[in-house]
Amino acid sequence: MTQPILKIEGLKKHFAITAGGAFSKSKATVKAVDGIDLEIYPGQTIGLVGESGCGKTTAGRTILKLYEPTEGTITFEGRDITKLSPKEMKPLRSQMQMIFQDPFASLNPRHTVGTVIGAAFEIQGITPVGGVEAEVQRLMKRVGLNPEHINRYPHEFSGGQRQRIGVARAIALKPKLIVADEPVSALDVSIQAQVVNLLEDLQDEFNMAYIFVAHDLSVVQHISDRVIVMYLGKVMEEADKVDLFTHPRHPYTKALLSAVPVADPIKGRKRERIILQGDLPSPVNPPAGCVFNTRCWKAQDKCRTEVPQLLQIGKDASHRIACHYPED
C-alpha cells in the first residue's frame, strides 16, 4: 500500500476580524475552514466542492501553507510540515504547487512568459539539463503554447493561453501535488475542455496528485476520483466519485446536485429539483448546531443544537457524512 502524498487531519483556519476604531474593538472570527481531513495518493484527484464561503479556496491555500493553519496537522510524504517556517518550507515548494483561478490577475503583467515559468528554477536554484531557456520552451510546448513566444508578455495571450502559462509554471519542477483553485472557471466553455484535458494528460504523465477546488460540479465529476463537499467551513459529505454522484446521502449534496442545470432539455426539466430556501449564512455568524440547518428541509431540533460528526455511512468506509438525518 503506497503512502499518501499528503495527509491532513483536523485542519482549521480561522481569521480574526476586528471592527471599530481606536477606542473600541469588536472581535469576530471567521471560521473559514473548520475541520477537514484528507488523504491523497499519487495520481489521485480529490475534488473540493462547495459554494461561496464554504472555505474550499482557503482550504486549498492552507494545505499548501500559504496560510498558516490555526489547528490540525499537515503531513507531506510522511513528514509533518504543519509548523515549518516559510524558510523551511522553501525546498518543499517545488513539490507542492498551485494553479490559480484568474488567468488575468495571477500573472505579473511586467514579466515575460519566460521569466514567469523560469522563475521556479531561479528560486529553487536548480539548473535543468540544457539550460533554463531550453527547459522553459520545452514546457511551453508541452502545455500547448508556441515556444517562440517565450519573450511575450501576458497581455499578449488569451485567457486560455494564460492559464496554460500558469500550468507550465506549476509543473516546471515536476511537483508531486498540485492544488488547482478553480482553474477553468474563468475560461470560455470551449477552452475549458482543452485545459481540463491538458491537466489530465499531465497527471497521467507525471503521476501527480491533484486537489481540484471548484464550484462547477460537472467538471468536478469529470476529473475527480474522490469528492469532498463543503459548506460554511465544514465537510458535509465525502465519498468516492461514483458513490457521491449516484447516491448522495447528505441533504446538502442532494440539493447541490439537483441544482446543477443539466444540458439536456427533456431530462433536465423532468428531474427532481430541490430548491433551497434562503441565503447562504454569513461565515462570520454561522448557525449553531449543524451549519446547514437554516436551509435544510428536514431540520429538527437536534440539528439546531448539536453539531453532527463526520461519520461513516453504509458499508463503505470511505463514504462519510455529517448529518443527523441522512437521506436514503
Binding site: S190, S218, A263
Partner: protein, 344 residues
C-alpha cells in the same frame, strides 16, 4: 396566429470603430421573440450575444457605435424600430416596454440609495402618483420576487443584501412597470449554484405572470436547456444555429454546437470519457477572415467541396423544420458529423 411577435430583429449589425480597425461585434442578426416565449442566446466571449441585446435596448453610445438594421417592438400603439427611432422615443421604452437585467448584481445597484428609493425611481418614471403609491407598488414587487419582510427591507441599502437577494431586487425593478420584453444578460453567472436555481425559477414564474417575451443570454448550456423554447447559438458575431431547444441539443446542426455539446462534462455521465475539446480559440472580430468564421476550428472543413468554407461565408439556411444553420454541410452530412464526435 395573426399576432406579430413582440420583438422582431432584422439584419442587425453592430460595429465599433477602434484604433485597430472596425470591430464587427454583431453581424446580420435576425430573430423574433413572442410574448410568453423564451429565446436563449448562447455564445462565448466575442460571440456578440450581449452586444445585440444592448442594441435592442438602445444602450449603445450612438456616437461611438455603428448600428444598422431593425429592431422592431410591436407595441399595442403600433410598431417602433429602436434602431431608427429618436433617442428620446427609445428612452421612454426602456423600463416600460422592455427591461434588462445584468450579470453582476453586486455592482448593478447604486450603493448610496436605498433599494426602495431605486425601485420608486423606476416606478415614478412611468406612473403618476405620490411617493406613497410608488412605495406600495415597490413593496408589492419585492414580495412578488420573494424578498422576506419587504416592508422593512425596502429602506435598506444594496450592500445589506446578498447576491441572490440583490438579483431579486433587480428583477423587481425591471418588472415594476410591466414590460412586455425582458432581457436577462447572464443573470445567474455570478451566483452560487443553489441560488442560481432559485433565480431561474423566479424568472420563469415572472415570465408567466407578466406574459413577457424573454431573452436569456448565457454561456451555460445547462441553463439554456432548463429554460429555453428556442435557442440562437452565436459565434464571432453571427448566429450560427437557430432552432428549438430539443433540436439544438439532440440534433445539433452546426460543427460549433456539436463540438460545444461534446466538450462539456455532463452531470450523470460517470464513465470518464475524455472531453472532446474544440481546438484553437475564437477569432478576433477585427478583420474577420473571408469565408466561414469557424473554419479554423472546424473538424469537417475538408468535407466541403471546392474549398467553399474558405471562399464563401455560409448563410443561415434552413436544414429542417424550424431549424437553421450557418454551414455549407448538408443536413445528411451534419447528421453523420454528430455521431462521429463523441458518439452522440
Amino acid at each position: 396566429m395573426t399576432h406579430k411577435p413582440f420583438l422582431e430583429v432584422k439584419n442587425l449589425n453592430v460595429a465599433f470603430p477602434t484604433g485597430d480597425g472596425l470591430v464587427q461585434a454583431s453581424n446580420d442578426i435576425s430573430f423574433t421573440v413572442a410574448r410568453g416565449e423564451t429565446l436563449a442566446v448562447v455564445g462565448e466571449s466575442g460571440s456578440g450575444k450581449s452586444v445585440t441585446s444592448l442594441a435592442v435596448m438602445g444602450l449603445h453610445d450612438r456616437k461611438r457605435t455603428e448600428i444598422s438594421g431593425q429592431a422592431i417592438l410591436n407595441l399595442e400603439t403600433g410598431p417602433i424600430d429602436v434602431i431608427s427611432a429618436d433617442d428620446e422615443v427609445v428612452r421612454k421604452l426602456r423600463g416600460k416596454a422592455m427591461s434588462m437585467i445584468f450579470q453582476d448584481p453586486m455592482s448593478a445597484l447604486h450603493p448610496y440609495y436605498s433599494i426602495g428609493n431605486q425601485l420608486i425611481e423606476a416606478w415614478s418614471l412611468y406612473n403618476e402618483g405620490s411617493k406613497q403609491d410608488g412605495k406600495k407598488r415597490a413593496i408589492e414587487m419585492l414580495d412578488l420576487v420573494g424578498i422576506p419582510d419587504a416592508g422593512k427591507r425596502i429602506e435598506e441599502y444594496p450592500h445589506q443584501f446578498s447576491g441572490g437577494m440583490r438579483q431579486r431586487v433587480m428583477i423587481a425593478m425591471a418588472l415594476i412597470n410591466n414590460p412586455s420584453l425582458l432581457i436577462a444578460d447572464e443573470p445567474t453567472t455570478a451566483l452560487d449554484v443553489t441560488v442560481q436555481s432559485q433565480i431561474l425559477q423566479l424568472i420563469r414564474e415572472m415570465q408567466k405572470e407578466f406574459n413577457m417575451a424573454l431573452i436569456l443570454i448565457t454561456h451555460d448550456l445547462g441553463v439554456v436547456a432548463e429554460v429555453a423554447d428556442r435557442v440562437n447559438v452565436m459565434y464571432a458575431g453571427k448566429i450560427v444555429e437557430s432552432g428549438g431547444a430539443e433540436d439544438i441539443y439532440y440534433r445539433p446542426d452546426h460543427p460549433y454546437s456539436i463540438g460545444l455539446l461534446n466538450s462539456i462534462p455532463k452531470i450523470g455521465e460517470l464513465e470518464s470519457k475524455r472531453l472532446v475539446a474544440i481546438p484553437g480559440q475564437p477569432p478576433s472580430l477585427i478583420n474577420l477572415p473571408q469565408g466561414c468564421s469557424f473554419r479554423a476550428r472546424c473538424a469537417f472543413v475538408d468535407r466541403v467541396s471546392n474549398n467553399l468554407c474558405a471562399t464563401t461565408a455560409p448563410t443561415l439556411d434552413q436544414k429542417s423544420t424550424d431549424h437553421f444553420s450557418r454551414c455549407h454541410l448538408s443536413e445528411a452530412e451534419l447528421v453523420k458529423a454528430r455521431t462521429e464526435i463523441g458518439g452522440k
